[in-house]
């Protein structure tokens, strides 16, 4: 019998810090008014550094991670789905959006540890961007639901649909200016709806934080090129999320720098994410959050998922060398000093987000996945045909064909990131087992 090499593993030292950060994030939003602060709601991809100019006591809750949190707590998620369907919305809509709406309809708020609080906090304003059809509609319905409770919540949306320039190409000025103009108008609007004076210094600080946090996250992901990989994707889900919650805040930068140093140390000492790393995979799009145990099942075959375009590129910002090599995006030489500089910097930065590319061109996404496969020494790709997110699943079947053509083994599976009724755990595991067997793998541990 072949001996399976066993790597040393260790818990992350900064794990509890991650948990506490996430806990405080939701509690701060909940109690913002008790502290005299302001709270806003919007998407994780909204330009979150802009409202930061309103003060240091501005708290947000971003809709997608909140929807994912609900999905993780399946009982509460089921109640949300029932509430949304009873209100007349179809179950084919974005699952995060439905979870979020369900929470409002039930008038309950769930914290990161699963505690359900009575009374969903009403945001002072909504700050959103339109990257996909669901993002465009999401908060219109939120506004409507809050209005039914007697509260008029002002909303501002930024249209970012100017196309993806390509990994390194410069964005045309007229596109950048179009978004800058919207953000400038947005700042006037923020002053008007909150009655607060806008502070450009805080804006510059927040923009710089966001650029640093998203670049450092890319650096952390790069460290997973090591064999054995120091982080597995299931763990990364609890870490990348800071970038979806608070990418503009100093706590996020500080946490990612601590994490980067720890992961570097793990690589240096050969500390693995999982004891048996025989087969390296990546996934795609959000996982079925209520069934993360699938990653533990994979480990029994010596399979480790070391990330995905999603975990690397949803928040991480990258530069692509001419030979296709991915490196963390280099920060500008100097920190922005004025409102104009800050807005230009963050718009140009954001428009290069890798996870935005496929909205426009599936070939770009296929190419990016192939790059990851090559550079992270990946053996196969697991594609989640995610019925819960049209935006990130768009073109995924074409991505499968492109990867197969390039000789990359692909395992597609159907599911839903936020609605457990659409994920068949037993069936998926049975098919996944067949896939692993076809790759020559056998179960190592029970």
């Amino acid at each position: 019998m072949t001996q399976n090499k066993e790597y040393p593993t260790e818990l992350l030292k900064c794990w509890n810090e991650a948990k506490n950060l996430r806990k405080s994030y939701y509690e701060d939003y909940l109690r913002a008014h008790e502290k005299g602060g302001v709270r806003w709601a919007g998407g994780a991809w909204a330009f979150s550094s802009i409202p930061a100019g309103l003060g240091e006591d501005v708290y947000c809750v971003t809709g997608e991670p909140y929807g994912a949190t609900i999905a993780f707590f399946k009982d509460f998620a089921a109640r949300c789905h029932d509430a949304v369907e009873a209100a007349g919305f179809p179950r084919t809509l974005c699952a995060y959006m439905r979870n979020y709406w369900g929470s409002l309809l039930l008038d309950k708020f769930v914290l990161s540890d699963g505690t359900v609080v009575e009374g969903a906090p009403i945001p002072d304003f909504i700050w959103q961007d339109h990257i996909c059809c669901s993002h465009g509609k999401w908060y219109q319905v939120v506004k409507w639901l809050e209005k039914k409770k007697g509260k008029e919540v002002p909303m501002y949306c930024v249209d970012v649909s100017v196309g993806y320039p390509g990994p390194n190409e410069k964005v045309e000025d007229y596109k950048v200016n179009y978004i800058i103009q919207q953000l400038n108008d947005g700042i006037d609007w923020l002053e008007k709806v909150t009655g607060r004076e806008y502070d450009d210094k805080l804006l510059c600080e927040a923009v710089w934080n966001e650029m640093k946090a998203t670049s450092v996250w890319a650096e952390i992901c790069s460290l997973n090129k090591a064999v054995p990989t120091p982080l597995d994707e299931k763990t990364m889900y609890s870490l990348y999320v800071m970038g979806t919650l608070m990418k503009h805040r100093p706590e996020c930068v500080a946490f990612y720098e601590t994490l980067r140093d720890e992961v570097k140390d793990r690589v240096k000492r050969g500390i693995a994410a999982t004891p048996y790393e025989k087969f390296r995979v990546i996934t795609d799009t959000q996982p079925p959050w209520g069934f993360l145990k699938i990653f533990r099942e994979m480990e029994k075959y010596g399979v480790v998922s070391l990330g995905s375009l999603y975990t690397f590129g949803l928040i991480g910002m990258w530069e692509f060398k001419t030979d296709g090599t991915w490196v963390p995006k280099t920060l500008p030489k100097k920190k922005p000093q004025t409102r104009e500089e800050a807005l230009r910097a963050i718009v140009e930065w954001t428009l290069h987000k890798p996870e935005w590319a496929h909205f426009y061109k599936p070939e770009l996404k296929t190419q990016m996945i192939k790059n990851i496969v090559d550079q992270w020494k990946v053996d196969a790709v697991l594609l989640h045909y995610n019925r819960g997110c049209e935006g990130l699943s768009v073109h995924i079947a074409e991505n499968r064909l492109g990867l197969l053509e390039a000789g990359v083994p692909v395992f597609p599976f159907e599911g839903n990131m936020g609605d457990e009724r659409e994920f068949d755990f037993a069936g998926t595991m049975a098919r996944l087992t067949a896939f692993f067997e076809s790759m020559g793998l056998k179960k190592i541990t029970e």
């Binding site: 692909v410 159907e414 068949d424 069936g427 049975a430 067949a434 896939f435 067997e437 076809s438």
Partner: protein
């Protein structure tokens, strides 16, 4: 060397005893509520027919959705478990060495498998969520038509017209059959519509992995004569149905067991 394969499927359990690559015995039985008992009874009666004992069988591999039921559990005591996909490919290759594509339509699942050298698996696809593209669908429709499931295929071959039908969902399809009955459509034509619908669903699924000759159809539904013509049309390909197509998975498991001789 003597090995055995046991396929604990959704509806039937099948056993194949193999000696030096030749089938000594094969048998099948319905799976009852007690899956272990169904599998054990069949296994014991089959080896009895051969005059062998469990100790004479060097190795047993189990496959099928209930394979874990007999894994390491007496009297079968299967030494290993293998997915249906691997067993199908190996079994089909054992019978037809030029096989490149295997289509397995069983009671609950339909599968398309791209076969590589020596019966390995290059890619595969399995229907998800609904048995609308599998044998259970035919059974449900036979009930709606009030005919025996065994008669469905031959009836379909007597059809004189093509009627499109939904095969995405057993429940909706049954409603459609009832509507067709009320519209005085003949049972022959309805039966054909049902087979066309399954073939369309299975065909489009298999096309996702690509169809390359030789194409081999296995599984219980391969015994249904009404299914083969529409599937050939869907895939625009000849299709080989081996003798005893429902045993190919068990055969594949037995072959793999003989390759894994400790």
């Amino acid at each position: 060397m003597i090995t055995a394969g046991i396929d604990v499927g959704a509806k039937f359990v099948k056993v194949v005893i193999l000696k030096d690559g030749k089938v000594l015995e094969r048998a099948k039985a319905l799976v009852g509520f007690d899956v272990l008992k169904s599998a054990s009874d069949l296994f014991e009666s089959t080896i009895k027919k051969t005059g062998l004992s469990r100790n004479d069988i060097k190795r047993i591999a189990a496959t099928g959705m209930g394979r874990e039921t007999v894994h390491g559990k007496p009297p079968v005591n299967a030494e290993e478990v293998i997915s249906e996909v691997m067993a199908d490919a190996k079994g089909a290759f054992h019978l037809i060495p030029n096989v490149k594509t295997v289509i397995d339509v069983g009671a609950e699942e339909g599968r398309g498998i791209k076969v590589g050298p020596n019966g390995t698996v290059r890619d595969f696809v399995i229907n998800e969520r609904c048995a609308a593209g599998a044998g259970t669908f035919v059974e449900a429709m036979a009930r709606a038509l009030e005919i025996k499931v065994e008669d469905m295929g031959s009836l379909a071959l007597k059809s004189t017209q093509i009627i499109p039908m939904n095969a995405q969902c057993c429940v909706f399809a049954e409603s459609e059959v009832v509507t067709l009955i009320h519209s005085k459509v003949s049972k022959e034509d309805i039966s054909r519509a049902i087979h066309d619908a399954i073939a369309s669903r299975i065909g489009s699924m298999v096309l996702r992995v690509g169809v390359e000759k030789d194409v081999v159809l296995i599984g219980g539904v391969a015994l249904n004569p009404g299914f083969l013509p529409p599937l050939k049309r869907e895939l625009n390909s000849d299709i080989i149905v081996p003798e005893y197509p429902e045993y190919v998975s068990a055969l594949g498991a037995a072959v793999i067991a003989s390759e894994h001789k400790e």
